[in-house]
């Protein structure tokens, strides 16, 4: 019982300088989940609820044996990521991401499923 005030002081000292936030959830994406695209995307856009490091991004087309790793992810933390997409053809795709929130370091994984329509046109030059 004598130690409790010391424990509380210790805990208070450790917790005092910390900041307040939580996991980085996906708030918005382009392509959106379950969307069918009539224009072939040349970028993937991911927006999270708070600042995070995007640590993994893979793309898998239905029927492919293994997912394709998307390299060159930004090293800096952000709420908003725009990543160049590989060349896509018509089909159903699954985009998988992993991020780690900068404040509490929780790792969040997520999936976005989208379809590139058979009639989809290429993206306009310079478009995102």
């Amino acid at each position: 019982m004598k130690r409790i005030p010391f424990f509380i002081l210790f805990a208070g000292l450790l917790s005092a300088p910390l900041v307040a936030l939580a996991h980085a959830h996906l708030e918005q994406s382009d392509p959106a989940n379950d969307s069918t695209l009539t224009t072939v995307p040349d970028h993937f856009m991911l927006m999270f609820s708070e600042s995070a490091h995007l640590t993994a991004l893979t793309l898998q087309k239905d029927g492919d044996a293994a997912p394709q790793k998307i390299a060159g992810l930004p090293k800096e933390a952000s709420e908003h990521f725009s990543i160049p997409a590989p060349k896509l053809t018509a089909g159903v795709y699954t985009l998988r991401f992993r991020n780690v929130a900068t404040d509490d370091n929780h790792i969040t994984a997520g999936t976005i499923k989208f379809t590139v329509a058979a009639t989809a046109r290429p993206a306009a030059p310079g478009g995102k």
Binding site: M1, S15, L18, A22, H23, A56, N105
Partner: protein, 283 residues
Amino acid sequence: MKPDLLSVIIRALGFVALFQAAGAAFFLATFGESLACARTPIRRVALSSAALGAILILAHLGLDAARLSGDFEGLWDEDLQRLAWTSRSGISQMVQALGLVAVLAGLWKPGRSHARWASAGGVIAVGGFLITGHTSTHALRAVLGPLLALHLLVVAFWFGALVPLAVVIRLEPRTTAAEVLKRFSVIAGWLVPLILVAGLTMAWLLTGSLSVLAKPYGELLLAKLAGFGLLMVLAAYNKWRLTPAFEQARSESSLRRSMAAEYVLIVAVLSVTAVLTAFYSPE
């Protein structure tokens, strides 16, 4: 096996080893002076669990890079390893490991004053949990931090005492063992309810509503609460029935069996906590 699964298994084992090491050090600092035969074996329990705990915690930290990439190739990714080791979670785990090294250093030589230093190491190891996680990032962290510290230190004191108590029952004369059991029972009777008080207050402050009970985070909290409820029944049975029976030289094996059941239940609750804190958010 996926990195997430391996990581959470190592995390749960690391929790068990850390709380065992810290709690055995607290036990030696509190009761060590009364012990003649059991002190050395308990010291060995603390030393081996501190060494194992430090290894498991560092292994878990190394695996974080694989979790970040979603596959084991991440282990060799320098950027992801740097991100893992320099993050607040990385610092938290290094403080936990450092605390366990202090337990090792404190108990390397026998003696009560050394056990006090080892206890300080136990406090540092447990304190490492305060650096990261939901409680550290919440707006009410000034309240949640001390509550978490209290919650975890009492868990360490309780859980970490079970193996030492079994050793005491086996090796010490019955009068000494009965005296230690009685003293532990009095202290635990005051401290253990604080686990529930601190835990429920933290759960309320973190979740803010009962709707969380329908989510995985809330379901796992309920599982922890159910485990704690069972533990209270066992602890009450030990205190009111088995400990007095042991004092009167009637029962030893049933007390040891009951304490073993307590140990297994606490390991289960710690494993649920490892899953809860690794994968789920109260939001």
